[in-house]
Symmetry: C2
Subunit: 340 residues, 2 copies
Amino acid sequence: MLDERKRLVLRAIIDSYVETAEPVGSRTIARKHDLGVSPATIRNEMADLEETGYLEQPHVSAGRIPSDKGYRFYVDSLMEPHTFAKTEVEKIEKQLLDPQLTPERALHAAARLLALLTDSVSLVVAPSTDQLVFKHIQLVSLEPNSILVTLVLHPMIVKNRLIRTEQEYSPEEVADISEALNKKLKGITYRQLGMTVLREIISDFGEIGRVLVELVLQGLAEEKEEQIYATGASNILTKPEFRDVQRAAALLEALEEKDVLMNVMSSTAKSSGVQVVIGQENVYAPMQTCSIVTCTYYVGSDVVGALGVLGPTRMDYSKMVAAVDLVARTVSLLLTKHDR
Amino acid sequence: MLDERKRLVLRAIIDSYVETAEPVGSRTIARKHDLGVSPATIRNEMADLEETGYLEQPHVSAGRIPSDKGYRFYVDSLMEPHTFAKTEVEKIEKQLLDPQLTPERALHAAARLLALLTDSVSLVVAPSTDQLVFKHIQLVSLEPNSILVTLVLHPMIVKNRLIRTEQEYSPEEVADISEALNKKLKGITYRQLGMTVLREIISDFGEIGRVLVELVLQGLAEEKEEQIYATGASNILTKPEFRDVQRAAALLEALEEKDVLMNVMSSTAKSSGVQVVIGQENVYAPMQTCSIVTCTYYVGSDVVGALGVLGPTRMDYSKMVAAVDLVARTVSLLLTKHDR
DNA sequence: TTTAGCACTCATTGAGAGCGAGTGCTAACA
DNA sequence: TGTTAGCACTCGCTCTCAATGAGTGCTAAA
């Protein structure tokens, strides 16, 4: 599709533009990257690359900048994989694989680490409860009509809910129900909780059962708040593409809207492996000058969440991909180990 | 100290400047606020106010802007209390006093509400565990050497910790210890846990006791992450004082540093009632062009946390104070009601 | 096919002029 | 003695205009 020299030129332009954020001229390339040809030749190549849509020209007397299509080609076919220094990898692993850390905290740590590593905004979708396997459910009577439900899910994720009942229950009754529920639920996920099981729970456990099923059905929807978060917003403000404060404000606002983030992440991190969404490919308008790099993470072999970074389209894709991949792998390892 | 007319002039200048963010000239004041004197007279007053430090002049051919001292005087002696519309108050109460809400969620809701209400950044310090009274402690054996500790604290705040022991414990042993611990701790706070009680726990409960005491002593320090948060950062970016992106970035960074926030909040919300810290009074340099309005909140009659807002010194202090006060009161009410 | 040369474009920069908002001072007035 | 009208003055802001220079496309020669 593109001959060797055009590829070299495109790569050179992207590398330079990513570094400097300035439109790149033919002279610059001739000087910095020794392609063995003169600026004039490069100009011809650049004109071709612009015609085929890989480059854009802000105005006639400026250099070229990569288009979304240019970045896309770069990501798919041009860039060389980035590798982190061994010490860096070890630092990351050391911070995340701390066995003291609960999965929730580890994910927060991962978000901070990723933001630091990439100097961008990091996005994390925590495991959604309904994909995790029940490990333990515990009901404790606090007052006669107030019961604490503690849910322990597969990779040691703990959730609490408080329920209030009309009827009064003795601690013993509650303990019995707790044990019975435990037997019924152990080893399955929210998702696998079919209607039959729910009906059984209602008929077996009376009011408590009813309230519990309500709890399940309302889907813990309000959890979205806690389930997705963005870290490192300040990193992005210093980038030249956000010198326009309006745009920065719009983006920040989006980052505070959990619904928006959720949409963005779920439309991006569809399949496995590292995904890159570039500029206009983004469904959400205020982010169309940004790119998003995401990766799913696992408990064992089940996808339970995703994490990634968000930055201007002018980003070091190679490094971003490597960082997201590394952190996602490490998180998966951690969650899977927690399993034991 | 200041005669009546000077006070009127100062107030007029502050009101106008807060609204427009433009230096205020003598003509503007003569026109808008009917003081019954000519611009020339007002000019004389303004010159006096500048000499005594209540006003500043960006340059000689501009109007005046309030100094920190001016704002301070305004807050202490000049401003009239703001009152919210009844419908607004009801809306807030309705959103926060939802009995379904856990205290944690209510506080998050309060933060969002406060940010919305004041169009600023809201800051919340959640109740710190060590000031709350034990309501219930529950140990559950998940595996022979892995125990889930669930702590229920006074206004229905639930914390979980996972501990791993060298020794193996049977579910029954764990249940026994749980019950005994419960008896020992019920009704006191972390703070009141003297050395004697800790020693008792170690000697009574062996390894589990030791691990628990370690948990207590390490003070749940890592909790800072969850204990303080800032919401609504995007609100502040659109204000003219943050057109300088550098400054905005510095502030945002500060908001992501929990340590910094913690310092700021604890040095501000010292005594009870609404506190206002203006500009230079702020200990933290990047915030010295900002003011902070905070208020403590209560469970019963005990201060357990604080909340507030952060904005440029040019803020509607009256409204800010009213909003912070209202939200703090509502949160206190909620937490105290949860008590039942 | 490559390259040197050259005319051309256009964003950016800086100087200078004019504008106007706002001041301080002075002198007259109540 | 306090107030006010008048006026000269200051200075940031905006506009214009020319100069600059980076970078281009095109042409013609190698």
